[in-house]
Symmetry: C2
Subunit: 243 residues, 2 copies
């Protein structure tokens, strides 16, 4: 069944569809009486029946509403140090597919790429668009936010607040990812924090540990900076029965 995100909350039994969403309906050649799904981007899917054409838009009747099945039961934020080139886009697209609720980029000591604030803002717009496209394609119920933080310290301060604050390091660690995820039997918020191409500096690991993050490893293989967050996210979703 065709599925669209709409920008606003749906509050009545009859929905007006205009703009980009109306274009979708035209492209798909949906006819009055046919059903499709509208997602409000806040975790609810509405099954709708197309009623009639109204000028440039359409009118549809809400048949039923239910929580979006694509949303995981946990709220996992992926914190990644700025990577080189277009790896940020890969990380966003695949994190959204795999169920991340938010993606945050931050600078770190060994980051090769440290764009200035102006170029961030430009990139952030593009990144948010990639998140939206990935959310649609993968049948998510919410569009994950993409954010940029100004410092490593700001990222640790935020990431460490999660119920399960995971910090990945390729050197000596305190836990394997499975050990860390097994420290608590229940948690809702999870942070997955990974470094840049050259890895984290030992001083950054110390800061993360002092802030209460769990210094964790993902086996003996060296994962690329764009592979590590996705591998960790898959493990988190698997462990919490969201795969």
């Amino acid at each position: 069944m065709p599925r669209f995100f709409v920008d606003s909350a749906i509050s009545s039994r009859v929905v007006q569809i205009s703009g980009r969403d109306a274009e979708h309906i035209k492209v798909l050649r949906l006819r009055p009486g046919e059903t499709f799904t509208i997602c409000d981007g806040r975790g609810t899917d509405y099954i709708c029946r197309l009623l009639e054409t109204k000028g440039q838009g359409f009118e549809a009747e809400v048949v039923s509403a239910a929580p979006s099945l694509g949303e995981p039961t946990i709220h996992c934020t992926v914190y990644t140090a700025f990577p080189k080139g277009d790896k940020a886009e890969t990380i966003i697209q695949k994190s959204v597919e795999q169920g991340a609720s938010k993606i945050v980029f931050f600078p770190s000591a060994r980051c090769v790429s440290k764009p200035d604030e102006k170029s961030f803002m430009k990139k952030r717009e593009r990144w948010q668009k990639i998140s939206e496209e990935a959310a649609k394609q993968s049948a998510r119920g919410k569009i994950p936010e993409v954010e940029v933080l100004a410092s490593f310290e700001a990222a640790v301060a935020e990431a460490s607040k999660a119920d399960m604050p995971l910090f990945f390091y390729e050197g000596d660690t305190d836990y394997s990812i499975k050990q860390a995820l097994s420290l608590k039997s229940e948690y809702y918020t999870v942070s997955v924090m990974t470094g840049p191409e050259g890895g984290f500096e030992p001083s950054e690991v110390v800061k993360a540990r002092e802030s209460g993050m769990l210094i964790s490893g993902m086996g003996k293989r060296i994962l690329r900076c764009e592979t590590a967050p996705l591998c960790a996210l898959a493990a988190v979703m698997f462990h919490t029965d969201n795969l």
Copy 2:
């Protein structure tokens, strides 16, 4: 410590290094007395000490030998239907990083891209090179083979022989990936089989089930054809304590 793969098994206490490996040593400016690691590509790492320059090559003494830490305890083969564009390269690179032992491509009913045998052979050479580079970068102990099979049936016949033969489908499935992986308490060989952009045909799912494969799902989100094998592989490695 620098680490190289060598083409042949190491059988003596003194190793001759020539060709591409000797180039590596030159680039890294290693000097007599310095140590480095040689991996035989068959699962063993040798710590060596550089002895002396011999013409265009080098001579090194084997100090110690141990199983390569980067090798997982299971043998997991990733079977992926031919994807479009350069996605095959992404799948190879990241499967190798995450511990796959072999990567196999095969045609499937809804494959958009079905290159002929000649262009396969050309691609296969390039794909094997990507596997080798990823194995080096991620500190694997073996270089995974990249293979191409002529039909979906050939892929199922091979994949179904594994101790844990997983077939992923986005429609109705018999197991979640966690349920499937929990069906046995011990296994060595694992198959992870995933479809093309348009998914598998229902008739292909029937054939896979009849061959004994476990028809499994990965949650309610729709994963892209290049994301699915990597997500499944991460889950397999996590479940078998290889992360």
